[in-house]
């Protein structure tokens, strides 16, 4: 077999840029989907039925549609429905945010529900408003329980961003595939891509393990 690894070295700047886009996509998605998840979780708990119903529908829809399908949907259907002409990057970001917000909402909901009712009552008894109780008492405690799960979600998301390559977002997978199809160096590029994902993903997984140990619920 005739392998030529020099193509990987020659493409290093392109690959690096792709990796950068992958990280940016992961970070931006989480930056939006964490508050998004909190808001959805709060909406699901709302006493105002239409609000709760909307949030439940949103979560159950976007959690249970395959992400790949969601990406295609965002690319082909969303512009028609909304009249918005977004860039592939923004379109991919929307698809990821819809999916991960729905996931995070469930994470926050279980975290919030795991805090005893007495904690809320203790806050209310001091004269706090429901919002103050949530921000000062419930959220900080739920946060500790939720953090390990969010960290795991981050790592899955980091890998799942590769799915947006199907709509030509220039992240790592798409970049590597482009180089592959131009150079015909299939084995080298796929191996290099796997290696780069692993090199970036492994330390993240280790950090997640550490977070699980540090913050895992021990009660």
């Amino acid at each position: 077999m005739n392998l030529d690894w020099s193509i990987v070295w020659q493409s290093r700047w392109l690959l690096l840029e792709g990796a950068g886009v992958t990280i940016l996509l992961t970070a931006l998605t989480m930056l939006i989907a964490v508050p998004g998840g909190i808001v959805l979780a709060l909406m699901r708990g709302s006493r105002f039925k239409p609000v709760a119903l909307f949030a439940t529908g949103f979560v159950e829809l976007f959690r249970n549609v395959p992400l790949l399908l969601l990406v295609y949907w965002a690319f082909y259907v969303m512009p028609v429905l909304t009249g918005l002409g977004l860039s592939p990057f923004a379109t991919g970001l929307v698809a990821l945010c819809l999916n991960v917000s729905a996931y995070n909402s469930e994470t926050f909901r279980s975290g919030i529900n795991s805090i005893r009712k007495g904690q809320t009552e203790a806050g209310l008894a001091l004269g706090m408003s429901k919002g103050e109780v949530f921000r000062q008492i419930i959220l900080p405690q739920a946060w500790r329980r939720v953090l390990p799960i969010l960290a795991s979600t981050w790592v899955s998301l980091f890998k799942d961003t590769s799915l947006v390559s199907v709509i030509a977002v220039g992240e790592l997978a798409h970049t590597a595939m482009q180089i592959r199809s131009q150079s015909f160096r299939v084995l080298e590029m796929l191996t290099a891509m796997a290696a780069i994902y692993w090199l970036m993903g492994y330390p993240q997984a280790k950090i997640v393990d550490w977070i699980h140990r540090k913050y895992g619920v021990r009660e």
Binding site: R116, G118, Q119, E121, A122, G123, L124, A125, L126, G127, M128, S129, E132, Q136, I137, P140, Q141, R144
Partner: protein, 256 residues
């Protein structure tokens, strides 16, 4: 029965319960309860488990809403609006059986949080006050401890200090010593006794009959959501007027 003058009977009562009813679905937890609490009084609520004592406390600070009747606090019926309810709650301190300290805050922060969040007091001033209150309950050396690093008795004393921080006009205690190891019950009862001596108005749900006997000015016996009997501790503990009270007390090992 000999005439008995209740404490501050010449002044308007701090709390008046008028035919208070509370339902949970089909179940009636409070079935037309009428009683009152004068300012400066220590009123102990006793009675079998499930008789509605906690429910009465929780209706008092509007953690539960009542279905019929009226509760009047300092001359006014409990308000309907959220904002007014919060103002009323600031004038009532509550102490829970399970402490319910905030585990992510130190003892000092637990006591200060009401002042900083609700009263919008600046942190330095709030911490100064919290410090003084922790000293008052004998925990000046535990201000930096998290609840997990305090004994049950210490946690409950922090919880009392937390409630006192809001300068309440009445303190509501719901079985404050029931979750405690026997050796730490005394330290909590002492703090409560000191509060009573200072003239704090208190409603105390308790199974500590010797505390009720010695500290209460008035004792109310509950059974199945109804008021079985009420009177000064001498009457309840030495000459109960109903057989059911006698049975309940002897069940707890009280022999007068």
């Amino acid at each position: 029965m000999t005439a008995f003058a209740r404490k501050n009977a010449d002044k308007p009562p701090m709390l008046i319960y008028d035919k208070v009813r509370k339902n949970y679905g089909d179940f009636t937890a409070l079935d037309g309860v009428s009683m009152h609490v004068n300012s400066g009084e220590v009123v102990c609520l006793i009675g079998p488990s499930g008789s509605g004592k906690s429910t009465l406390l929780r209706c008092t600070n509007a953690l539960e809403t009542i279905d019929d009747g009226e509760i009047r606090f300092e001359g006014k019926p409990l308000p309907k609006s959220d904002t007014e309810t919060r103002k009323v709650r600031q004038r009532m301190g509550m102490v829970f059986q399970s402490f319910e300290l905030f585990p992510h805050k130190t003892a000092l922060e637990n006591v200060a949080i009401g002042l900083t969040t609700v009263r919008k007091m600046d942190a330095d001033e709030a911490h100064k006050r919290a410090m003084a209150l922790l000293a008052k309950v004998g925990l000046a050396d535990k201000t930096a401890n998290y609840p997990a690093n305090l004994s049950g008795g210490q946690q409950q004393r922090v919880a009392i200090a937390r409630a006192l921080a809001m300068e309440p006009h009445v303190m509501l205690f719901d079985e404050p010593t029931s979750a405690l190891d026997p050796e730490t019950v005394g330290e909590v009862l002492n703090v409560m006794r000191n509060l009573a001596d200072e003239g704090m108005t208190m409603i105390v749900v308790t199974h500590e009959m010797s505390f009720a006997r010695r500290v209460a000015n008035w004792v109310v016996v509950f059974e199945r959501g109804q008021l079985l009997e009420q009177g000064p501790p001498q009457q309840i503990f030495e000459a109960p007027t109903t057989e059911r009270t006698r049975e309940f007390l002897s069940h707890l090992g009280w022999n007068g």
